[in-house]
Symmetry: C2
Subunit: 347 residues, 2 copies
Amino acid sequence: MISLATADIPIKAWLNLSKCLLTKRIGRGDFVKEFEENMADYFGAKYAIATCNGTMADTVMLMTLHEMYPDKDQVILPAFTFVAHSNSVVNAGLKPIFVDIGENYQIDWKQVIPTDKTLCVFPANLLGKSCQIPSWPEIPILEDCCESMGGSTFCRMFGTEGIAGSFSMFPSHTITTGEGGLIITNNSEFNEIARSVMNHGKFRTNDFTFSYFGTNAKMTNLQAAVGCSLVEKIDEVNKKRRRNVELYNHLLGLNFYAEAPHCYPILYPSKNSRDSALKLLGYNGIEARKLMGCIPEYEFYQKRFGDMGYFPHASLVANTGLFVPVHQNLSQKDIKKICVVLNATRQ
Amino acid sequence: MISLATADIPIKAWLNLSKCLLTKRIGRGDFVKEFEENMADYFGAKYAIATCNGTMADTVMLMTLHEMYPDKDQVILPAFTFVAHSNSVVNAGLKPIFVDIGENYQIDWKQVIPTDKTLCVFPANLLGKSCQIPSWPEIPILEDCCESMGGSTFCRMFGTEGIAGSFSMFPSHTITTGEGGLIITNNSEFNEIARSVMNHGKFRTNDFTFSYFGTNAKMTNLQAAVGCSLVEKIDEVNKKRRRNVELYNHLLGLNFYAEAPHCYPILYPSKNSRDSALKLLGYNGIEARKLMGCIPEYEFYQKRFGDMGYFPHASLVANTGLFVPVHQNLSQKDIKKICVVLNATRQ
């Protein structure tokens, strides 16, 4: 089986975990602090907040911003995205306003105008690719970088453009702590509130006083112990993944580019041909997935929110796209095998 | 420092964690499955679902029930409780209907009448004590047992009374996985939907199809590796904790009882005397906390939900109560020291 996800576990992870057990600090603990400090350093951000997973990082970011601007409850995000991205909006008690994508998986900002209910725009650097960000100075930006840790362009490092950015350390992502998430921000008020929101809305004292609607999104010291062994690997992993993308491009005659590749996406002429390709990949022991969905097409979204607009490009990409692995532990032989199968499906 | 929380880490936890690293299964993995099976066995329940923490276990239970009964959105719960309990209602997009408590920290069911919008009653076995459960056959029960794992009375095991029950493995609780939660149920539909909801609303296949509003509440294999080493300790821990409660009762001349003690609560004549006692305990290196709150008194609840009723007993207990440690690794000497300080505050 050639799988979509991989896990790099340096010996340091084992030493760190042993230390958690010896010191009996498996919940909160020094590795969480160390991981947050190392990640803040890596991003050049003032604050980094470790969370239990990327979905909860998104949810906590939105809950935090809603505490800062309680009168605003609409969030603008792409119609084509991973469902956790839009679910986090719903789970924070907010209303998603979807926008269609245009070329190159990019949100088409011309199609939307913010209102006085707009809490923020919430673009995602999906597939590990840099997303375009609108320049509406009065509207806060939350940047979902769950699929793109360590990506950067000439102008910006992913996650540092808006008031805060979120990351995921799920096994298919750049580094993994099993499950894991991270929020970075340079805004001290945002940092304070987010730390409270992720810990039941507590004041930072121990007196069981609560100031905000909260949840529990804390990372364990166990996860952070693994994370601390991996911070230095981020750039190396992305470099290997970009090299894998180049090999795919070469073997398939395509031209995909991502700064921090999460997967290799391929579009087919029809849903049927995409679904056949998925089957053939499966038969050949290659893990592959449908691309992310067109969220407003999901029945349960339509039931709750009614008709949310017309999203032809998001729908086309969602219904005809798939992705194959791009992770750093693929061999050239793996990629060649995948491309032989893919080329057979694309004739 | 005599702390409120403790962690028992058998050598088996270290062996299990080493196995996670060797097999590179730190996210989903066999220990999660083993932990779920062992816990289902322990509770005599058909299904057990491991989650990242107890708050998310509560949230997933409510989201699941709401998927089953989408037209109902009100949840009846005690006004005196830990804030995570009521926050989970809000985070699931539902409306909390608070009820005052009466004698012995018990919800006073006479004060509320369910309506056709009532999704469920959601009592908590708070402080490790058995809660009374109303007999409204048409209203589903979700039972919060976050503070009472392994507790049972003559008639019932906590968590098995309603459609589902939730547990927490936070360090102050009976067993700990750092952070961790569990849902048990005998209802196969509930089990299927809950497993989907906690994993982004996915179908159980791998094809990225989504059927429900979801979140990410998955437990890591790292947490489960620790959990698997602790299942057999639950009854032993509760026995030790009950013995600690007896010693407190003897030394303080009080009469508290809990089946699965989470802490030892003490009520003072006034807020001032309680706050002074907390200070004195702190000076003496004894970790103690205000008792849980009267949730509808919290300013952020009032801002969002307006006036939610009159809760004099919940308010009194919340404003005059504190709790001290009762965990299984306290020595008799610790408890005697705590009681000397407590007796000084109660003169």
